[in-house]
Subunit: 325 residues, 2 copies
């Protein structure tokens, strides 16, 4: 089968195709013929050689496709349309998926749409509910509202709670789109001071919850935006990793709860439980068309290098999809 | 009545006695004739003019004493021996205490012992259980093991869970005492590298929970000591407030949960709920002599300046008490 590996750590030009034998199944596994895969920031980090979470040299952590073989210990049938997280190997014609994190694709969703769901919606779900403990009374600040996780988080927060959603993005197009997804307050971070707008929108109280993909460059401003006893969930560092001068007294005085998280390196058990709860609570909303998979652009499998370049240009609104088979 | 106020922000010499009328009660309040009060770090911070949480110019946030008057809305009788947190005013002959955070003093405890309980045990309880979610399977690293909160936390952790307790202190006396309270691993931070010892004691996994009173000077070493998915509760900054260079990628990779907390500025409701749970779960252990109030030294009320100097010298093992009446 054809699959994408990294020649040597570096830019998109280092992505190349290589032939592999079909992956072997273990108890509880499915073999999935991949219809679509999706690009994630963590793929770029892996391509650059900055992480090695994956069990295989083949990149890609989520797919949609058709089950073509099942190992013992599963009750999913051959032919089932599934989507889900994989432990690497998603940029390939076939991939192994643990059956306990395979989600059946609702009939109203295409394979391309389905591939846009697992990573960003599970991340958003984990961040908003498991770590963020979002309630109906809360106001949540979701940065990068036009990103994959951002568009997922806005929808989940608005459809599953009565919380007020404040979001930031860098263009009017993205902000309009965020509003169409339900965001209550949309801030252009290039033209407005998001921390001032967040305070205005919360009667100077600050927000209860921040979803922070940005990191260092927003550190001070996120701290200003946060309410006393607020929760600050860090899930990315698009704005850099290194904060010069952190004042711990400020954290104490606000009684900040800062939780840093990544989904990919977490255990199989964690992903299984997260998937199970997500299917139960959020999947009906996809079936009812209340929540949409947000596809920015579909690239052909052969065009993988351009798909990575597109993500690195930060132009995407929603997910970047690879059509594999 | 006589009470202690701050002349102007500064050192212990700024503490002076002043006459005040008896404080007025509101619905739900008790008037307590103070038998003993205790010194806290937050009193020193208030004395230095760095905080103004208190509703009165009189310092002091915890007392033991006898109820001499009750407002409507309480069911505690005049004459009851009580201990508890007050909203300032504890360095005085009389103080107002909301009845819903008055704890009846067990018969086996003196007023001096009782005054050593509220702030440090409630802080330790909040930190270990409400924020730290300590379980039987956990290993917890408790810094400043000889301090008021340290001695309280060691005892609560060992008496209420099966958790493994690692503690740090700066002298053999303190370490021996921590061991006598139940600490499993006692590290002299002046002679040993606590992060290396914590890793050795956890089979290189790191600890599940850190109680951090130190802040900036231990930042990197606490991060090294912490397990993936570990909880890091910050409750003090004896080692400074300002951390130069925080690497957020390290927080992400360890999926650190950093929770900063202070008890004094929290709401009346919070203190009421915390007190209620503490009385239910921990007070029986005092009655059974399984947990001890740790009194370092008792100062006469008039000797308040020396009591503050003693705390600032970091020589105390347990609580510094003021005998008021």
């Amino acid at each position: 089968m054809r699959a994408v590996v990294v020649n040597q750590p570096g830019g998109p030009e280092q992505l190349q195709f290589q032939d592999f034998p079909l992956p072997k199944l273990q108890i509880g596994d499915l073999l999935v013929k991949v219809k679509a895969s999706a690009i994630n920031r963590s793929d770029i980090i892996a391509r650059e050689g900055q992480s090695n979470y994956l069990a295989t040299p083949i990149l890609g952590i989520e797919v949609s496709g058709e089950v073509v073989e099942v190992a013992s210990g599963t009750n999913i049938e051959v032919g089932t349309r599934v989507m889900g997280l994989v432990n690497g190997g998603g940029y390939a014609e076939y991939v192994v998926m643990p059956a306990d994190r395979a989600m059946k694709i609702p009939e109203n969703l295409s394979f391309e749409e389905a591939a846009a769901i697992p990573e960003v919606f599970l991340t958003a779900y984990q961040t908003l509910f498991w770590l963020g403990e979002l309630t109906d009374q809360d106001t949540v600040l979701i940065h990068a509202g036009g990103s994959g996780v951002g568009t997922a988080a806005i929808q989940l927060a608005k459809q599953m709670t009565q919380a007020k959603v404040i979001t930031t993005a860098g263009s009017q197009d993205k902000l309009d789109f965020c509003r169409s997804l339900g965001a209550d307050v949309c801030i252009n971070y290039k033209e407005q001071s998001f921390e001032e707008e967040a305070l205005i929108a919360t009667n100077n109280q600050g927000v209860d919850l921040i979803l922070d993909f940005i990191g260092a460059s927003y550190w001070e401003r996120n701290l200003k935006s946060l309410k006393t006893d607020g929760r600050w969930i860090m899930i990315g560092i698009l704005g850099g990793s290194e904060v010069n001068k952190v004042n711990l007294m400020e954290l104490l005085q606000k009684r900040v709860q800062l939780k840093a998280t990544l989904l990919t390196p977490r255990s199989d058990e964690y992903k299984k439980e997260l998937t199970k709860e997500f299917v139960q609570n959020a999947m009906p909303l996809f079936i009812q068309n209340k929540i949409k998979a947000i596809v920015d652009q579909v690239f052909q499998f052969e065009d993988i290098q351009n798909a990575h370049k597109h993500m690195e240009a930060n132009k995407n609104l929603g997910k970047i999809i690879l059509r594999v088979n």
